[in-house]
């Protein structure tokens, strides 16, 4: 049950909060329990048509020919939609924010690159009529060698999956085939380490499997506008994507949504709206495009599978002195959001631990698998799994309690993170202490007394303390002589520098023996200056 631990950081607490900590009813709960919440498919239209899609049975194949002449004459068929009917038949989701190149067709015309890829659509008077007509379409394929493994995909001579990225890696900022993180000198760190442990972690794709499958209904409105009822999690994102693919102004589309039958990241990809709108435009009638459960599993994009290698250098006293991560994100055949997941992953390395030497290379790789997308912490979740498994192994290797081993290395206020940002408002040590207490996990005294506020420093990460430089002015506020009294509402998320310690500080981990050479960490000198945006990269301030 929910419990507020007001004793921790009591001097920073603000108890005048109105909503936080108070139970509150969901605004949509009455609709949910009465079955009246308006999901996209809870709208009824006379003479509704149904769109069903022919999908690739192969992971990689060239389409030699498509014969839909019999299907076109099948009962109930109103229209066949072919690749040539799609106004802009190449897109990438994040093109809306100028990230990545258009690489994915709405309907494949020459090559299919994953099993389940859409090839052709049939609009008919019922779902059954559309399905029966689909069975009459004859497609002739030349199967091509498929690559289904991330490391195989980046080997020389591997089949090229995606014509836009022929080397099977996403291209960052027009030139880089992966994302890097460099902090300190990781090789020197491994040389100093008493113990080095290395392991490989392989994740599987995970389907969101929302109880409501992806779908949409498009209804022609007056004045050339189309009303789109949709299950999307990202209404305006889907609207702009659908407008781009249909080559219409976004104000010609009126998206209605917001009641989503489970998304978890699986409803941001705009899987149905563009073709549903196109079908309504080509037939002049309301059209529904609803994924079957099988389609949701086969074609609905999953959480991507990551392969992660972690190598840790450990000092006998339990400090992690070096951590190297090499990871490959399986984007599937097209980009969707894995390119961004890689950026998130690199931003999360090396986990919530202060490590003086960190090195990471993370790749977004194309394979002939279902394109992967967002799902609950994507990019981070798998990495955390790998890192925390590694932490357990590290604890065993140095003969420490696994929680104490973690606490020794956790971020504290004033530590320098591998991304050259100072750690602030840390509370992980306190969380670990409470968790240990709740689980009756014995912690030694010094760990029970440990504090996020004490013992942190840039030096702990092997970096000269620059906290008094102008860039970090906020962290250099004069320490108040007494704990600050509660203020109505903190506006800045800055923890006040605490008063002089009144308790015995826990043994601070000894500083790293050798600071990194300036050459090995050139970015140290630019610390604090550029502002890093997760998607745009370095951004003007």
């Amino acid at each position: 049950m929910l419990e507020f631990r007001k004793d921790i950081f009591a001097d920073e607490r603000d108890d005048s909060l109105v909503e936080i900590g108070q139970p509150t009813a969901r605004q949509d709960i009455l609709g949910h329990v009465t079955g009246t919440s308006p999901y996209y498919d809870d709208h009824r239209f006379a003479n509704l048509l149904h769109l069903k899609i022919l999908r690739s049975p192969h992971a990689h194949a060239r389409i030699r020919s498509i014969d839909d002449s019999v299907a076109a004459r099948a009962p109930g068929v109103k229209r066949i939609i072919r690749a040539a009917d799609v106004p802009v038949n190449l897109n990438t989701l994040l093109s809306l924010i100028q990230f990545g190149k258009d690489d994915e067709p709405s309907l494949a015309s020459d090559v299919v690159r994953y099993k389940g890829e859409p090839i052709l659509g049939i609009v008919a008077t019922s779902e059954r009529a559309a399905l029966e007509a689909l069975a009459l379409v004859r497609v002739s394929y030349d199967q091509l060698p498929a690559v289904l493994d991330v490391e195989e995909a980046i080997k020389a001579g591997a089949p090229s999956v995606n014509a836009t990225y022929p080397k099977n890696t996403f291209e960052y900022y027009g030139k880089y085939d992966h994302q890097k993180l460099r902090f300190g000198d990781v090789e020197a760190g491994f040389r100093q380490a008493d113990i080095v442990i290395e392991d490989r972690y392989q994740m599987s794709p995970i389907e969101h499997a929302p109880t409501e499958t992806n779908g949409s209904i498009t209804v022609p409105d007056t004045n050339g506008r189309y009303i789109v009822y949709t299950s999307t999690q990202a209404l305006f994102f889907s609207l702009d994507t659908a407008a781009k693919i249909n080559a219409v102004q976004s104000n010609q589309l009126h998206f209605i949504g917001g009641t989503v039958g489970g998304g978890f990241g699986g409803k941001v990809d705009t899987l149905t709206e563009p073709l549903c709108i196109l079908a309504a435009r080509l037939t002049g009638a309301p059209v529904r495009y609803r994924l079957s459960r099988h389609e949701e599993m086969q074609f609905g994009s999953p959480r991507g599978a990551e392969r992660i290698y972690v190598k840790d250098g450990l000092a006998k006293d339990g400090r992690i002195v070096a951590r190297s991560v090499r990871a490959y994100f399986d984007s599937g055949a097209y980009t969707r959001l894995s390119s961004y997941a890689v950026v998130k992953c690199v931003a999360h390395i090396p986990g919530p631990y202060t490590i003086p030497n960190v090195h990471a290379d993370v790749y977004c790789v194309f394979t002939n698998r279902t394109p992967a997308t967002a799902m609950r912490g994507f990019g981070v979740t798998a990495l955390d799994f790998a890192l925390e498994c590694q932490m357990d192994k590290g604890a065993v290797a140095v003969g420490m309690d696994p929680l104490e081993f973690r606490m020794l290395n956790m971020y504290r206020d004033g530590d320098m993170k591998a991304h050259r940002r100072e750690a602030k408002n840390c509370a992980l040590i306190e969380c670990a202490q409470v968790a240990a207490e709740k689980a009756n996990w014995p912690l030694r005294d010094e760990f029970r007394r440990m504090s996020s506020r004490q013992g942190g420093s840039h030096e702990r990460a092997g970096v000269a303390d620059r906290s008094r430089t102008p860039q970090l002015a906020s962290a250099a506020k004069p320490a108040p002589s007494t704990p600050p009294s509660p203020v109505p509402q903190r506006v800045a998320y800055e923890r006040p520098t605490p008063a002089a310690p009144t308790r015995t500080a826990p043994p601070s981990p000894p500083p790293r023996s050798a600071p990194p050479s300036p050459a090995a960490s050139p970015a140290g000198s630019t610390h604090g200056a550029p502002r890093f945006s997760s998607v745009f990269g370095t951004r003007r301030r």
């Binding site: 009962p75 779902e127 059954r128 399905l131 029966e132 069975a135 079957s292 099988h294």
Partner: protein, 272 residues
């Protein structure tokens, strides 16, 4: 093209229709056929139904149990005399599926479904057929081997009622309390003078259809149900099986865990 549905009062008429129409399927509880219709499966064109009460018939006499093919898992759970089968019936879906799923339908369920059929196999059941001019009764094992080729209508299954505590069942799933089978094991383990006499062991999800573990049965004959006694049976537990890779488990995993669960079942370490 829509599906044609033909409903018959008498089972014999339904059986005749089933054998005379191409692409005809008999409709039990609907959990298999309706899915095929919903997906516009072109092989399902004609549906034969019957409202014959014989389908719902349950008879439990001292020595023999007979279950109409239309008896649902819920009906079995409501029958106190069939308590030994309750763990099996409860393993078939959630409550709504149990209200629909039938004994007859389970005989046609593809792996990894078919836990109830496997239990019937371990009970040495026979299948009875309605109408037509073919055979009236077949041992279940023989029937399962040719179920996809025949067009005869199963009207009921029958088996000798096992003595108390002789029948055991365990289903291995990843989700509890309701999950699809990684595999399930059903066994009849009669003991005479401390030794197994005439064991019957059947697996589900260890092949395309439920199958008997004949090597393990033979290895148990005359042995006591203790660690040493069952060791030879465990060594041959997977003989004759042909599990497949599916979304629930790999064939490798099924083979690996089979002896583990068979050991627990034989030693009575799993409670059903």
């Amino acid at each position: 093209m829509t599906v044609t549905i033909k409903t018959f009062d008498r089972l014999a008429d339904a059986a005749n229709a089933l054998s005379s129409e191409r692409g005809a399927h008999f409709f039990g509880g609907g959990t298999l056929i309706m899915r095929a219709i919903n997906e516009a499966d072109p092989s399902v064109q004609t549906i034969i139904r019957s409202t014959d009460p014989a389908l719902q018939h349950i008879s439990v006499s001292s020595g023999r149990v007979e279950l109409g093919a239309g008896v649902t898992m819920a009906a079995i759970l409501a029958e106190r005399e069939l308590a030994f089968l309750h763990p099996v019936a409860r393993a078939v879906g959630g409550p709504a599926v149990r209200e629909a799923a039938t004994v007859g339908g389970n005989l046609f369920a593809n792996s990894p479904y078919g836990d109830f059929a496997a239990a019937l196999l371990a009970l040495d059941a026979t299948a009875q057929f309605a109408g037509g001019f073919g055979q009236r009764e077949l041992p279940l094992e023989e029937f399962l081997g040719r179920r996809d080729r025949g067009t005869s209508l199963v009207s009921s299954v029958a088996f000798r009622r096992p003595p108390t505590d002789v029948f055991r069942f365990h289903k291995v799933t990843r989700v509890h309390p309701k999950g699809i089978s990684v595999l399930s094991i059903s066994a009849q383990l009669p003991v005479a003078s401390g030794r197994i006499a005439g064991a019957r062991i059947a697996y589900n999800a260890m092949g395309q259809t439920p199958l008997r573990a004949k090597a393990a049965e033979r290895a148990l004959e005359g042995r006591p149900l203790d660690a040493a006694g069952i060791a030879p049976a465990l060594a041959v537990a997977a003989d004759g099986t042909a599990p497949v890779d599916d979304a629930i488990a790999s064939a490798w995993w099924r083979r690996e865990i089979l002896p583990v669960y068979l050991r627990r079942l034989l030693l009575g370490a799993v409670h059903t």
